[in-house]
C-alpha cells in the first residue's frame, strides 16, 4: 500500500501541531466556539449528542496491521475501547475528550493517518471498491486512482470551501461494490476497444433529501486526463452550484437544474483550459503510486487443508458460503469479516477484535485489510489453505458470523443513539431485525437481502439503495419509520420506492417480518432473491403485506 513521503508526513504533522495550538486557544478563551467550530470540523471533530466524535479517514478503506493496531490503541487510550466503522469506509470514535484529541491526531500521524477533510464543505475521503486489488472481476485496482485523487484533493486551496461537501468513489469492476452511482463523482476504470485503460465518469449522484442516480458525463476519459477533467468538474460546480439553499447545494441539484448536456458542455470547455495547465507530472506521480499497490507476492502452496475442512466442518462450510468471495488468484480467496454479529451494533469493533484482525492480516493476508462501506472488514488476500485457521481465530473473538449479504448484514448509521442530526434511532432497529430472524432461523433460507437503515433524511445509512430501506423520522415527537422497497446500490443502481405510511418503533420489526414472509410465499424458487421477486411482481403484493388493514378495507 501507499506509504507517506516526506511531503505527506510534514503536512500531516504540521496539522497536528496547528490543531494542538487551536485547542489550547479554545480552552484558554482566545477563540470563541464560533471561531473554533470550523477549525475542529476541518479536523473531523464533531460535537454529538453525548460527547465529541472524531472521524478518522481511512483512504479507500485500506489499512495494514500497524494502522489497525494503532486504531485499537487509540480506542483503548482515549476512548471507550471500541471504534465504529462507517459507510464511508472511515472509523469514528464516539467518546474523545477535547483535550485528548491532539494526542489522538499525533498517534494517527505516527502511522500515516489523519482526520483531515472528514467534515466540512470540501472533497471528502475518496472511497473505493473494498475488494480492490483482489477481485476476480476487476479491470484494474482502483486504489492508485483513488490515491492520486486523495493527493490532488487534500488541502486543495480552490476546493476547500465548496458550496457543500463533495464525495468521490472509484471502482475497477463492472460489478459496482462502491455505490459509485450515488456519489457526487463516480469513476469506473474500464478498457476501450483499443485496449486503452481510462474512466467512465459519472456525476450528480447522491442520496439524502433528494436522492439521484449519477449520470454519465464522459463514457471514456483517457487516463492522463483524469485530474484536469476532475478539476474542470469542480470548477463548474463551484461556479454554478447553489449557495442560497443548503438543501440544494450538492452537485446533483446543479446537474438536475442545469441538465447534464449543459454541464457536459461547460466541463468539456473548461477541461481544455485545465489540461493545458498539467505538464504530465501527475502521470509520473501516478506511475509511482501504482507501484505501491503492486499485487502481493503470492504463496505457491497447495489448498488441501481448505478442501478437507470444507468436507468435515459444516459451520466452516457455512462461513465459506457467505463470507468468501472469488479472488483473481484461484488459490486465494477474499475473506469478509462480519461486524454484524446478531444483536451487536453494526460496524462496531472492540480494540481486542481490531488487534486480532491486524494479527490475521499480518500472518495470513499479506498485511492488508479493507473496510467496506457495508461496515465490515475484509482480508483481501488469504491463501485458501489458511482460511480454516483464520476462521478458527475469528470465532474466538466473535468475528466469525456467517451472514455477509444476508438479512442481518445491515447497514445502519449511528442514528439518535449518537448523532446530533438524527431524527430517530437506527441501531436498535438493526439489532432487533438481526436477532428476530436469527430466532426464526430463516436467514439462510431468505438468502441475499440488503436492509439499510438511516436515522434521518441525510441517508448516511444508504436506505434509498437498500432492497429494503428504513428511514427513521420524528413525527410529532415520536419515532416513525418509513419503508422503501426495491432499491439497489450496484451497477443497476435504483432508488427504492416508498411503500406507504411509516411505522412506529414497536411496529417496524413486525412489519419487516410480514414483508419477508410475503417474499417467501411469492418467490418462484429459493434462488429468486427478494429484489428479483420485487422486480418481477412490483410493489403491490409487498404493500399488501405491509398494510393488511388497507387490503381488508379495499375488499
Amino acid at each position: 500500500m501507499y506509504s507517506y513521503n516526506e511531503f505527506d508526513k510534514d503536512f500531516v504533522q504540521n496539522r497536528v501541531h496547528q490543531f494542538r495550538a487551536q485547542v489550547d486557544r479554545r480552552v484558554d478563551g482566545s477563540l470563541t466556539e464560533d471561531e473554533f467550530k470550523p477549525l475542529r470540523l476541518m479536523n473531523g471533530l464533531y460535537l454529538q449528542l453525548h460527547a465529541y466524535m472524531l472521524r478518522v479517514a481511512i483512504p479507500y478503506g485500506t489499512l495494514n496491521s500497524a494502522k489497525m493496531r494503532q486504531l485499537a490503541y487509540i480506542a483503548d487510550t482515549w476512548d471507550k475501547g471500541y471504534g465504529h466503522f462507517t459507510t464511508r469506509q472511515n472509523i469514528q470514535y464516539n467518546w474523545p475528550k477535547l483535550s485528548d484529541v491532539p494526542d489522538m491526531l499525533q498517534a494517527l500521524a505516527d502511522v500515516d493517518m489523519h482526520s483531515i477533510q472528514t467534515s466540512g464543505n470540501c472533497i471528502r475521503n475518496v472511497t473505493a471498491d473494498h475488494f480492490a486489488g483482489a477481485a476476480a472481476d476487476e479491470v484494474e485496482d482502483p486504489r492508485p486512482t483513488a490515491e492520486l485523487l486523495r493527493q490532488w484533493s487534500t488541502d486543495h486551496p480552490e476546493f476547500a470551501f465548496l458550496g457543500r461537501k463533495f464525495k468521490f468513489a472509484v471502482t475497477g469492476s463492472e460489478n459496482d461494490r462502491a455505490v459509485i452511482k450515488a456519489h457526487d463523482v463516480g469513476l469506473r476504470v474500464l478498457q476501450n476497444d483499443a485496449g486503452e485503460v481510462g474512466y467512465e465518469v459519472l456525476v450528480g449522484g447522491g442520496l439524502g433529501r433528494t436522492p439521484m442516480i449519477g449520470k454519465v458525463l464522459r463514457e471514456f476519459l483517457p487516463r492522463e486526463d483524469l485530474l484536469p477533467y476532475c478539476e474542470a468538474i469542480m470548477q463548474i460546480y463551484n461556479r454554478l452550484g447553489r449557495r442560497d439553499n443548503k438543501y440544494k447545494a450538492r452537485i446533483k441539484i446543479t446537474v438536475h437544474e442545469n441538465g447534464i448536456e449543459k454541464i457536459r458542455e461547460l466541463v468539456e470547455e473548461r477541461f481544455i483550459i485545465q489540461r493545458a495547465a498539467f505538464g504530465g507530472y501527475d502521470q509520473i506521480l501516478f506511475a509511482d503510486i501504482k507501484q505501491a499497490f503492486a499485487a502481493p507476492d503470492y504463496d505457491h502452496i497447495n489448498t488441501d487443508g481448505y478442501e478437507a475442512s470444507l468436507k468435515s466442518d459444516p459451520a466452516f462450510r457455512s462461513f465459506v458460503d457467505t463470507n468468501i468471495a472469488q479472488h483473481k488468484n484461484p488459490d486465494y480467496a477474499i475473506v469478509s469479516i462480519s461486524l454484524k454479529k446478531h444483536g451487536d451494533t453494526p460496524g462496531d469493533a472492540s480494540s481486542d477484535q481490531m488487534r486480532v484482525m491486524a494479527d490475521l492480516a499480518e500472518k495470513y493476508a499479506h498485511d492488508e485489510l479493507r473496510i467496506s462501506h457495508e461496515q465490515n472488514v475484509i482480508l483481501p488476500h488469504v491463501h485458501k489453505s489458511h482460511i480454516p485457521t483464520v476462521y478458527a481465530e475469528l470465532r474466538k473473538v466473535g468475528l466469525a458470523t456467517a451472514n455477509i449479504g444476508l438479512i442481518s448484514d445491515i447497514i445502519a448509521c449511528p442514528g439518535m443513539d449518537y448523532c446530533a442530526l438524527a431524527t430517530a434511532r437506527s441501531i436498535p432497529i438493526a439489532q432487533q431485525i438481526a436477532t428476530r430472524f436469527e430466532e426464526l432461523k430463516l436467514e439462510h433460507d431468505i438468502g441475499q437481502l440488503k436492509i439499510k437503515i438511516s436515522g434521518c433524511i441525510n441517508a448516511c445509512g444508504h436506505h434509498h439503495v437498500g432492497h429494503i430501506g428504513i428511514l427513521g423520522l420524528d413525527r410529532a415527537g415520536v419515532e416513525n419509520y418509513q419503508i422503501t422497497l426495491g432499491g439497489d446500490g450496484t451497477q443497476n443502481a435504483t432508488i427504492g420506492e416508498r411503500a406507504g405510511p411509516g411505522f412506529s418503533y414497536d411496529e417496524i420489526i413486525p412489519a419487516i417480518e410480514r414483508l419477508i414472509y410475503a417474499y417467501l410465499d411469492l418467490r418462484e424458487a429459493a434462488v429468486e432473491t427478494f429484489l428479483e421477486t420485487y422486480r418481477r411482481l412490483g410493489a403491490a403484493p409487498f404493500k399488501a403485506a405491509l398494510y393488511p388493514e388497507t387490503r381488508i378495507a379495499a375488499e
Partner: protein
C-alpha cells in the same frame, strides 16, 4: 404570533469532556436531569441561556430543552432529550453506565 412559552431546562455539553450537563437547582452545572432547574418563566430561561453563553470556558452548545414536572422533578418531553439524560440505547454505556 410568537409561540407560547413551554417550560424548559437549560442544557449544554462540557467543553473538555463533551458530557451532557444541565443548569442545576444549586446554580452549578450538573449531570443528572433530575437535578436540573425547572424553568417555567420565560424571562429567567432566556437570561440563564444568555449567561451560559458567557461560560465558553466551561460549556459548548447551550440551549433550552422542553421539560415537564413529574413527581417534583423535571422530565424531558422529547425522546432526543430523554436519550441525552442517559446515553445510547444500543447497549449500556456512556452516562448511564457511569452514574
Amino acid at each position: 404570533m410568537a409561540r407560547a412559552f413551554t417550560p424548559k431546562v437549560l442544557t449544554a455539553n462540557r467543553l473538555i469532556e463533551g458530557d451532557v450537563v444541565y443548569y442545576g437547582n444549586n446554580g452549578d452545572w450538573v449531570s443528572s436531569h433530575d437535578d436540573a432547574l425547572f424553568l417555567d418563566d420565560e424571562t429567567q430561561a432566556n437570561e440563564l441561556l444568555a449567561k451560559s453563553h458567557k461560560q465558553a470556558d466551561l460549556l459548548v452548545g447551550a440551549y433550552l430543552a422542553d421539560a415537564i414536572l413529574k413527581d417534583g422533578k423535571p422530565v424531558p418531553t422529547h425522546f432526543r432529550e430523554e436519550f441525552r439524560t442517559r446515553g445510547p440505547s444500543n447497549y449500556e454505556h456512556g452516562k448511564q453506565a457511569e452514574v
